[in-house]
């Protein structure tokens, strides 16, 4: 499939798609979108996909798909990145929905405020840090005694969750107490050949 990825290289959600395409050796064209500059709200971007969010992928026939975790699920269908066992596949999706609901809105949002918009940690809502820390504690617990989140091997759950966890410090989170998370980040970065 000839694939165009519209994304922002600083966005973990967009990097998930890049890493998955590269891991699966899918050739792609990258179109950089300046999110902070408001590019996703302009009519020319809305015409690509009505959601007005990145990442968006567009295929040769013009069909477009948004939502990072839906995109990587589609790209990886039939590959080793998705468990063949239905229950394990559901556990992978459980982590991916949890990522978007209970992890990204705190850890990615704190990072966006601090690293993109230059706000100081003290000016952000304490709730961001309380809930982000709770997400990190749950992740640490899951990674105690397991190298990966599902089936003890690399799946889309790891790709989805490593994206913002590996840059959590840019949003004021401290990963030092979380040994399991730090070892897992190193492992997944190696698996995905992410330059660190």
């Amino acid at each position: 499939m000839a694939l165009t990825i519209h994304g922002d290289l600083r966005s973990g959600n967009c990097l998930k798609v890049k890493w998955t395409a590269e891991k699966l050796k899918l050739p792609y064209r990258w179109v950089e979108v300046d999110v902070v500059g408001g590019a996703t709200r302009r009519p020319e971007f809305i015409s690509v996909h009505p959601a007005g969010q990145v990442p968006v992928v567009v295929f040769e026939d013009g069909r477009a798909l948004a939502q990072s975790n839906a995109i990587i699920f589609y790209l990886a269908e039939g590959s080793k990145l998705i468990p063949t066992n239905a229950f394990e596949r559901a556990r992978m999706l459980e982590w991916m929905f949890w990522e978007q609901y209970s992890h990204e809105p705190y850890i990615a949002v704190a990072r966006f405020q601090m690293a993109y918009l230059g706000r100081a940690r003290e000016t952000l809502e304490p709730k961001l840090f309380e809930r982000g820390e709770a997400a990190l504690r749950r992740l640490e617990q899951a990674l105690k005694g397991s190298d990966y989140l599902v089936e003890n091997r690399l799946t889309l759950a790891d790709i989805a969750l490593v994206a913002y966890t590996r840059v959590a410090h840019e949003g004021g989170f401290d990963l030092d107490p979380h040994r399991g998370i730090r070892a897992w980040i190193g492992r997944v970065e190696t698996d995905l050949a992410i330059a660190v």
Copy 2:
């Protein structure tokens, strides 16, 4: 499969699981969990599933699964509620991830604040309403000229999105201007035999 659903009958996320089980004629036992009373934060609930959130399903062999949209994906695997075409399946997941990221955090949260906690609309963050209205506008646009969100027939995308859209008025949203949404709600309620 012998299925136990732990949930709160006022929660749209929990009702998605109930409706899907009923549509698929899967027998289940319902265990009511008092979310507002703090039941999901108690150790006995955390021992069922470490996420500390409802819904959670537990199977006969003790395996547990959380996240409403992951649960309904698992229950519906191989059924007509999931498109067999991979791209249409991905579009269904796109709507389901969008629901959890761009719809539920505004529409369900405003309803929770008003209907569960008794807060007045004026005391809530205006952002909840701006973003919730934007989500409703996008849904209305998608339903113009289409009876359902994906493949023009009932899929999990409709179940996921109808859950909180049908009670949006309890959170201070006005569905009157959204004719397409109102017709779709009626259609999906009929399909799922939801008493109205």
